[in-house]
């Protein structure tokens, strides 16, 4: 018999975490389905390496399972907490990389179909990711969380451990730099009509 995956679909993340702590295995599946894809997307953009991003997500989820019995409902959003842990793990890895020779650092990964397949959408994503990879880490973190993962500025402030104004400043600078980097590629990427 196949258990329905959406048995807890209406439950909040808080409630799912509590259910997990009470022994509900289905709650773990639902939480994984909700959080892990977004975390992988975020960590991949932060690290530019799929394997490392997946390790970060596994570690983040592992910490979530560990904290579940002590989780205080309403104290923080589970997703914000998870992004904060993933952010810190990414930062640790990026710091460790600084001590490595440049050749040991992986190139920004792009595991989607490329322009050779004529998929302009994929090309745009690849261009965005390449530009993001050239941003300073904090700007990249802020702009990805705000404009791709959809977190609010106060949530990003909590995630990054800074004030809301600092978040606004980081995202503004990041967007300015991204716009400059991508300006030369508008025609190539199909944005010349407007």
């Amino acid at each position: 018999m196949v258990m329905p995956y959406d048995a807890n679909a209406d439950a909040t993340d808080d409630a799912l975490l509590r259910l997990y702590a009470l022994g509900d295995g289905q709650a773990a599946r639902e939480l994984t389905a909700r959080l892990a894809p977004r975390l992988v997307s975020f960590a991949r953009r932060m690290l530019g390496d799929v394997a490392e991003a997946e390790d970060v997500v596994q570690e983040t989820m592992l910490r979530l399972w560990k904290i579940a019995p002590q989780w205080q409902p309403g104290s923080a959003r589970v997703s914000t907490w998870a992004f904060r842990v993933a952010s810190n793990l990414c930062t640790d890895r990026l710091r460790r990389r600084r001590g490595q020779p440049l050749d040991a650092v992986p190139e920004p990964a792009d595991d989607r179909p490329d322009a050779d397949q004529g998929l302009i959408e994929a090309d745009r994503l690849a261009a965005l990711d390449a530009a993001l990879a050239r941003l300073p880490q904090r700007q990249r973190q802020a702009v990805v969380l705000r404009h791709i993962e959809g977190l609010s500025n106060p949530e990003i402030a909590e995630t990054m451990g800074i004030g809301v104004e600092a978040v606004e400043s980081l995202t503004a600078r990041a967007k300015r730099a991204l716009a400059a980097m991508l300006a030369g590629r508008k025609e190539e990427l199909g944005y010349d009509e407007g």
Partner: protein, 128 residues
């Protein structure tokens, strides 16, 4: 920053946002999928770390009460120790309040005083 500068910055910010909006929209529209192998790794961790029933009951109690209860239970040897201690306490209370005559009837102290368990022991000593 003057009012004019702020206005220019806001205009620049709007222009940047407009230029980037299609890129961000494309990124948001991307449906991230986690590989089955990663999902299995995560769920394996979840199963391994899921609290057991006894731990869940303990987790449901307030920390201070749980600590005191656990320490006392360990001190007296768990549930068996607690049951023995409770029985002994009840027996002690009963002995304290019961009619002495009733205790004598169960072989209490006055009855025990009259019992000679080895009546012939003196004879055995004399016989060597």
């Amino acid at each position: 920053m003057t009012k004019v500068d702020k206005g220019r910055a806001a205009q620049t910010g709007d222009a940047d946002h407009d230029a980037l909006a299609p890129y961000f929209a494309a990124a948001r529209a991307e449906m991230p999928v986690i590989p089955a192998v990663l999902r299995d790794r995560i769920l394996h961790d979840a199963a391994a770390l899921q609290p057991r029933p006894a731990a869940r009951e303990r987790a449901a109690q307030p920390v201070a009460v749980r600590d005191l209860g656990a320490r006392f239970s360990e001190l007296i040897g768990g549930w068996f120790g607690a049951a023995g201690l409770a029985s002994a306490a009840l027996a002690g209370i009963w002995l304290g309040y019961a009619d002495p005559g009733l205790i004598d009837a169960f072989g209490g102290p006055s009855a025990a005083a009259s019992v000679d368990l080895m009546a012939d022991f003196g004879d055995l000593l004399l016989e060597g």
